[in-house]
Amino acid sequence: MKEIKVDVAVIGGGPAGLAAALEAERRGAKKVMILERDMELGGILQQCIHDGFGLHRFNARMSGAQYAQKFIDQLQDTGIEVKLETIVLDLTAKREIYACNSTDGMMHIQCGAVILAMGCRERTASQVLIYGARPAGVMTAGTAQRYINMEGYLPGRQAVILGSGDIGLIMARRMTLEGIQVKGVYEVMPSPGGLTRNIVQCLDDYGIPLHLSTTVTRIKGNKRVESVTVCKVDENRKPIPGTEEEIPCDLLVLAVGLIPENELSRGADIEMDPRTKGPVVDNNFMTSCPGIFACGNVSVVFDLVDYVSQSGEIAAAGAMRYIKGELPQCPEYREVIPGDGINFVVPQRLLKDCAEEDVTFFMRVKKPQKKVYLQCISEGNIIKKERHNSVAPPEMLASKVYVNGKGSPEFRIVEV
């Protein structure tokens, strides 16, 4: 077995991992290693050929692949080592990694710090309780996207899409352009899950109907999908009997949510947050396991890749602080409190004595609201107040707050 020692190991070479590795090197890490399971870097961005990436970071309308390329190109001039088609099998709380690939065999990697950047995976048909048959022609939006955009094959001719998050909307347009008839996008919630821009440019432009408060309840067809049954739902998302409608189609595309992929984190006994389904992290994006950091969609599912990269950089900065001994070995924390109208806040906690620094908090609101203030309160004082004309759960709020004192900051939404 190969024995390897690195300063920083980054698990995952998608947008979070790439940003983290580059930032770690910029901050002086001598040996940085990216462990990527796919045959190339970039992660899921490589199949995202649509534009809309990098608006914040590069002030440009780039496709996912272009955005990834920017980072991949930067790697050229660095000493960062990239291991492709390499899978991490185990991660221990002592920052040891067991990973393997065809050329190196098994590697035992001892790390100064570990940055988790494994991303997320998609929820499946069983997980959203669609009943009926289990034929070919039921797939997640990501799988359909891979087949169409990377492999060059069409997985159906007439599609129904469940889920109006951005991935569902993007795939509605993409499939239409490829000649697949998209019969409709169905959304169980009363409001769309994706950005208005995508509703307009992916659905309205092509006359694809969006059905809100409607879900797919049943799949018909033992070999290949023959039809799906859609059904209106009440305010508790329960199907309303008598509203069923059978839609003939041969493809059901599921865009029903993403789940951070934390099997490795669990193996290292890292504390998880049941709301984000990612590790509980502090202001350095360090997990409950000292020296192990998490960033990107493995920590919380972000809406914008720009934030994913940013979280990678925060984690890398934290990792370098850790290596340099600037972080306490047995850290004490104060909690960050999601107050009125806020579903969750990441990071979930701050180092007790991390006074006097800018911390970016990422959060999602509980419900759509217009004309509100996002407030941050600490020790009874409002330390930050931002006006938002509109907030909605699909859109993450990122708020940079100058944290001082010892209090537990609480975020809340108040009407203007």
Partner: protein, 588 residues
Amino acid sequence: MVKEIQKIMEDFHVKDANMTADERNIVTLSGVCDSWQTLIDVGHAVAKVDGVKNVVSDMEVEGLTIPKKNYEPYIKKGKEIGVIDRADVVIIGAGVSGCGIARELSRYNLKIIVVEMGDDVAYAASKANNGDIHAGHAAKSGTLKAKLNVEGNRMYTQWSEELGFRLERCGSLQMVTEDRLVPSVEKTYETALKNGVDGARMVTQEEAIQIEPRVEAELKRMGKELKAALWLPSMGVVEPYEVVVALAENAAKNGVQFLFDCTVGDVLHEDGQVKGVVTEKGIIEADFVINCAGVYADEMSWMAGDRSYTIHPRKGTIAIIDKTCPPLFSVLGGITTHEPTMKKNVESKGGGMCFTPEHNILLGPSATEVPDKEDVDTTPEDLAYAMSRNSNEQIGIGNIIRIFAGTRPADFKEDFIIEMSPITHGFMNVGAIQSPGLASAPAVAKMAIGILLDDMEKNGKRPEEKPDYDPIQPPKLDFRHMTHEEQDALIKKDPRYGKIICRCEQITEGEILDAVHSLVVPTSIDAIKRRTRAGMGRCQGGFCQPRVLELLARELGEDWVNITLKGRGSNVLICPNRENAEEGGSRS
């Protein structure tokens, strides 16, 4: 008998009721019932009448078309092709019964062909069950089921050792904390004793804790004491398709031929002697035909001129739970604090909470009578039943990674039928092998072969044992359960094991290629899944399906669009992206 049957049909308000009985006391019923459940109830009630050997139902249901399979196209195709082969024995169906018989029979100098309608072994009931190797405590005493279950359970150790599949003889500990639940445990114990279940005994709380130390903490947490506990040490679990694949591969190694996508359309017979089968791939002549056709066994028997039972499909739905919620105990069974919240089908033992050798928890199966043999749809009602078997508060709907259903082939006698047809010699029924068919499989095979060999001997044709019969099937490489040192050594030897295809279950390219290049070639994505577990994890193939598809296409020399999810007609991809403006279908 006749009067009693007529009374039953009257009581159930069967319209135009009629019955006939042959010399064997096979009773054929006709008439119109008001519901499918009534039809089932009538069949069961008649089967319980003294003297009735079995029940054939020609009954109909008002307002319901009972789906019937049309065999004409298969017959037409087969006859056009003509005779393609001749065998000593043709086995219909490559489930655990068919493959078990094929494997056991392959030690003799016989030409054996297995014909299977699906694209792979374990295509139907044999894949869609919870893998329990039942001890034999749940079968009605005195039935063939009870006898073969206990015997089969015992024989599994040898099968597992020879065939290299995993058998975890974890035992079952059925514990109750309430006085009112004690009688049901005692009743099970009595049945276990009557059936001769190995090692069955009532144990004290202390003994239970010795058997599974975690019981102590759990009782403490609940603030309860055990009022009774039944220990069934012979209970075990397997991955059912591992068993069937191992049987089939070993049978193939010993000369058995397998034909997939090969539906039987007719059974040829003349003057009370079976002559062969007409399949969609042509006619195969044979001296013996063994009917292991699962839910279609009654129809095969009818084709052979022996209409002696009716299979009524009983659908079972199972929910698989993510490995992140491991089973509470290392034994099956568990602590019961209250009566089941949902009633089960009285004719079926149904399923509870159990786990696989990989320690995924399984909930179910349910037991729902359905008119359509192909109906493997999941329903909210069946899932609710499966989830009602859950006794672990930590587990909810959100932990499910897959829900699936299969149909069990039940007859109205609710017992196995293993016999040489008294009407058509050479045609042997191995029918109605429902639960505990998996646990009974070795004994079913032994009994069937016993009947067959006796018959051959009577005609002076007892086959010789082959000197080169090899009962051993080496265990499959199992990358994910190796130590890191072993994994390292394996990759050094063969780098293909260093490439992980299925991330969730850590299945390597090497393992998939081993499966593709085995003796019984899997050609679909599900077939690969059953052999290697690729796609069985929590992402359900989201990441690895395109990779598995690519490997299958490459290794089988097929175009991507020809690769199927589960056999004919289930192609994953339709066509390549359009390459010019005119193609691509429906865009206006």
